[in-house]
């Protein structure tokens, strides 16, 4: 490692295709995890709203999932689902649940009671009320949760390099650490940090654009 220059830009140029592919893989794995995590969390949040006593146990279970080290989770899953994308996604999705469920429940709970009373009094059905009143008002808080979950997941994807996937994690672990090749490590780290920052900024601006009303203080 000592005789290498600090950063070999020629390697980056030669391997642009590989790097681009890893960025793509990273994004797809993050996207799937957040997408599936959102669907499951929504289901759970809606269930919790109907059956409130489920909230405690749900948070306890998703919290326990969150606390399992990823390595241990892979060890548990590999005998069942193998070294597959499914294994990786099961792990990634389960880490999003705690953040997303808690946020969606809090977001829906945050819709003012008088708004719900007015909606009922004006003749919204329960499905209409959810889609046209509760979700739009809850959206800023939900998107805030998605932001945290996304940034966390982008970091976690690198860990799936342990089972041969990993997106940018592959550059860090497999071509980097394992082969004592610093340039690959730097590239992987820099790009995954950049993705996290871009995702955060992008979601923040989405959140603002979706909620012009939240900024409409005295005009």
């Amino acid at each position: 490692m000592n005789d290498q220059p600090f950063f070999r830009i020629d390697w980056v140029i030669d391997n642009l295709d590989e790097i681009g592919g890893r960025v793509g893989e990273h994004l797809v794995m993050t996207g799937i995890a957040i997408g599936v995590g959102l669907v499951i969390s929504f289901g759970l949040a809606l269930l919790i709203r109907r059956v409130r006593p489920l909230y405690g146990p749900t948070i306890a279970i998703t919290g326990a999932l969150y606390s399992i080290p990823s390595l241990a989770l892979f060890a548990l899953l590999i005998p069942i689902t193998g070294l597959s994308l499914l294994t990786a996604e099961i792990a990634l999705v389960s880490y999003t649940l705690l953040i997303l469920v808690r946020n969606i429940v809090a977001a829906l709970d945050g819709v003012p009671a008088e708004v719900l009373d007015a909606a009922d009094g004006m003749g919204f059905g329960s499905v209409e009320r959810l889609w046209r009143v509760e979700l739009p008002i809850a959206l800023p808080v939900i998107v805030a949760g998605v932001r945290i979950a996304t940034v966390t997941t982008i970091g976690l994807v690198t860990v799936t390099s342990l089972i041969g996937l990993g997106g940018l994690g592959y550059l860090i672990v497999n071509t980097g650490i394992n082969r004592f090749f610093a340039t690959s490590i730097y590239t992987g780290v820099a790009l995954s940090v950049a993705l996290a920052v871009l995702a955060d900024v992008g979601l923040e601006s989405l959140q603002r654009r979706l909620t012009p009303w939240a900024r409409a203080r005295s005009g």
Binding site: A118, G123, W213, S218
Partner: protein, 384 residues
């Protein structure tokens, strides 16, 4: 005044309605209530907390379901329709207004017409019309979000929203409970003016007896446990309380409360000398000499009152400016009750109030003396 059915409303009846939260044996929230609210009238439900007044109101649009008995609107049982359909046909206004923060003022007003799938052009037209009706200029307010409105503006939008689909019945749950007394008086007056145009059947809940007396064509006084103590016109309730409870609830100052039955517009107003900004001082002085009272009311170009001008302090020449007015004439409206007018006047430095119309133009002056005339024991409170 004899309450008369007006075309905009519907008759609402309660037939032996009981509402119990919890198992039989628990004291009911509303107990065997029977009432008939004539079409086009404001019926105020009033009583101490725990008297079931809000529950009574909420049973009309089935936000609460009666345990026993029947409620009808124009003869039709409210349970004949689905709750959702029923509610779309009944206006609903609550104390915290409950405007949807993610929708503009225009979209908020359009909610029920959209639920009813009116064509868009008709909705747009209706929104304009309603904003005008509640005194909010459509161009300035349509696109604003509720977060940028004042309390009074929000409450007006709430009323416009409730009127959107032209429902025959409006339910109002302490609509002015969260605003300051001056604004409350204004909003009450606006609602009375509006009601004179639309003639809805309004079921209005309040815990404030003065508000009940001012707003109601008929008052239903409920006592704890949802028992109807008296259902009658405000005059009858003040002059002939049906029980000790009613007498106590209405208060010891029934005489004074009778002032709430009369409005400023029922009295002869004093016509002051009115001078306008920009008028030459020489001319003003001459007119004040002819008038002889020694003061004049200064108004701006739109006839809005600015304050008093004293002949002793009037400069010799030039024209009148806005700064010359000494403010301190408490504003009154024709719909203000004499009771509120009296308390306003007693609390101000000048015991002479300026009565203005809805565009703030001067109609005349009202003095404390004129009100105390009404208070004399042999005088009967005039009623509009």
């Amino acid at each position: 005044m004899t309450p008369q059915a007006r075309p905009g409303g519907a008759v609402v009846t309660f037939e032996h309605v009981t509402k119990r939260y919890g198992p039989p044996g628990v004291p009911p929230a509303v107990d065997d209530l029977s009432l008939a609210i004539p079409a086009g009238e404001i019926c105020v439900l009033v009583g101490p907390s725990g008297c079931g007044k809000t529950t009574t109101m909420r049973m009309i649009n089935r936000l609460a379901e009666p345990t026993a008995g029947r409620i009808t609107i124009d003869g039709q049982d409210v349970r004949d329709l689905s709750a959702v359909e029923l509610r779309r046909g009944i206006g609903y206004v609550i104390q915290q207004v409950g405007l949807f923060p993610h929708l503009t003022v225009g979209e908020n007003v359009a909610i029920v017409p959209r639920l009813l799938r009116w064509p868009e052009p008709r909705i747009r037209e209706r929104v304009e019309e309603l904003l005008e009706l509640v005194g909010l200029e459509p161009g300035a307010y349509r696109a604003r979000y509720p977060a940028s409105l004042s309390g009074g503006e929000r409450q007006r939008v709430g009323v416009a929203r409730a009127l959107a689909a032209d429902p025959p019945v409006m339910l109002m749950d302490e609509p002015f409970g969260a605003v300051d007394p001056i604004l409350r008086d204004r909003l009450q007056n606006e609602l009375l003016r509006l009601q004179a145009k639309v003639g809805k059947t309004i079921v209005f809940v309040t815990h404030d007896v003065d508000e009940a007396i001012k707003m109601a064509d008929r008052v239903a006084i409920l006592r704890r446990g949802g028992v109807l103590a008296q259902f009658d016109t405000p005059e009858a309730i003040l002059s002939a309380p049906a029980s000790e409870f009613v007498e106590h609830f209405v208060g010891a100052d029934r005489g004074l409360k009778r002032l709430s039955l009369a409005k400023v517009r029922d009295l002869q107003l004093i016509q002051p000398l009115i001078v306008r900004v920009g008028e030459p001082r020489v001319e003003v002085r001459r007119r004040m000499e002819v008038d002889g009272t020694g003061y004049a009311l200064l108004v701006d170009a739109a006839d809005r009152p600015l304050g008093w001008v004293d002949s002793a302090e009037l400069a010799a020449d030039g024209t009148l400016t806005e700064e010359e007015a000494t403010p301190g004439a408490p504003p009154l409206q024709p719909e203000t009750t004499l009771r509120d007018a009296l308390s306003t006047l007693l609390g101000s430095s000048v015991q002479l109030g300026v009565v203005t119309d809805e565009r703030d133009r001067v109609l005349g002056l009202l003095s404390v003396d004129a009100i105390s005339e009404v208070l004399r024991p042999d005088a009967t409170a005039p009623r509009s």
